[in-house]
Symmetry: C2
Subunit: 314 residues, 2 copies
Amino acid sequence: MSQHHFADRLLKAIDERKTPLIVGLDPVYENLPASILPDGTTGLVVSQAERLAAVEEFSSQILRIAAPHVPAVKINIAYFEVYGSAGVQVYQKLVQKAADIGLLVIGDVKRADIGHTAAQYAKGNLADNHFPDIGVARGPDSVTINPYFGIDGVAPFLEVAAQQGKGLFILLRTSNASAGQIQEITAADGRPMFMHVAELIEKWGEELIGESGFSSVGAVVGATSGQAIAQIRRAMPHTIFLIPGLGAQGGSLSDCLPAFNGRGHGAVISASRSIIFAFREKQYQGVPPDAWTQAVENALLTTKKEIGSVLRIR
Amino acid sequence: MSQHHFADRLLKAIDERKTPLIVGLDPVYENLPASILPDGTTGLVVSQAERLAAVEEFSSQILRIAAPHVPAVKINIAYFEVYGSAGVQVYQKLVQKAADIGLLVIGDVKRADIGHTAAQYAKGNLADNHFPDIGVARGPDSVTINPYFGIDGVAPFLEVAAQQGKGLFILLRTSNASAGQIQEITAADGRPMFMHVAELIEKWGEELIGESGFSSVGAVVGATSGQAIAQIRRAMPHTIFLIPGLGAQGGSLSDCLPAFNGRGHGAVISASRSIIFAFREKQYQGVPPDAWTQAVENALLTTKKEIGSVLRIR
């Protein structure tokens, strides 16, 4: 499969790591392990710069723990933008670092605008080789984007994806409680709005189908119900799903099953807080603070095993 | 009207400057005036840092030109993100600078995510006092956001807006060619999808209605047709419209009329390229390069006059 095609690269990495599990990096200072905090304790006044440094150190360790076990990491830029431009610089460094240690990177940026402005977002958030002055030359392998503008907001990202062998995951059916307010408005043909979006995304991805049969244009599909995922899968046979929110957002593994084919291809499942903050769980209370990395790795391997067994059962 | 309420402040500024025109700042290096480029000429190889410095200088001058004449500036972050974190830092400095010279600032960031992540975006992109280490203490007065997630993606922004007297403009009906692919899907009740979004936005803004009768929760409504704007206005009597794309995106002034009440309140009209790049128009060829600021001010004043006369005619 082509190394210059995002979907092909992603499926190859899934086969090599033997899992569609990816780690979502949503670091929050307040949840960091005590051993990483500036002064080894919580509750003291620390500067924004110290907080950001701790978030960077934690994130780097998460990447190091994840690299041998999963094909990709999803880094959510919101948790870095909260520190302003300094945080964005850390995000950029982490994208580079993840790539350096062999992880595919999904930049969870959820950008969207029209034509010329979308082209700026695509250059700034997806393309490689755009910040030579500041020492970061690499964009993520894929980004999440919002479909609300129609193809005008998507085309500039498609162009970068085609030129640089990169990918997109376009928001389709999200897993949050109020997602239905817009996404499930019933259309005149009786179907929910998101099924119209599904057809659009499948079509937008047609030109980027790789040797694997899957397109580099994916869709974000929450693990809301197995029925919804099956319905979406029928409308989008060539689209890789990014299924977020396993665990924390209430999705269940068996609901994800209709996304996959017999070879275990068709989706990546992202778990974030349940893995990266596993050391905060009750069973780790009293364990030495620097044992947090072991808790994270254990949670990752447990989730990976669960997914493996559910996919094989099928 | 309350100084701690975004809509009240905006309408007061509109009355003071006698126009609902706002300037959209979408700076592109390739379009900058020759007198601002690093070496006074175009076409030579310049570093990203030099480009960004030129964009910053140009943007600062645009703000200075605009400040006496218009109530607000809309700064589109995409044109700064294209320079990575260094660009984001310039964006933050420009937000502060605009506020310092008396302009209200709309941060055109079009962010959206769910719950906890949206809260990070709201802190990082709208709230004040969040980057003390890097010398920028002020967020914009308002930001644009995307409604695709429903209220979950909006609530954290509402919270910051309520606490800090700030505002939102939520994407509703955009003016790009493909906007209809999703926004105009016909719902089961025969209405286009965007009319459902209109009702949601009006409702989301209910708690933030100020002394003016308008809410700090606005909506982005393209100047696509006067009929569409009238239809949307009927569904959202308390919502301020942000009408982008006058000129460059093909909207016409008379189409905007139904957005306004008899006092000239109800919308801000954003013009970007037709003002900030006015010096590139044919009539300015041969004029000395450093006369570009005069061309920009002329275009701004001409547009302001046109809007004034159309609004008064009504």
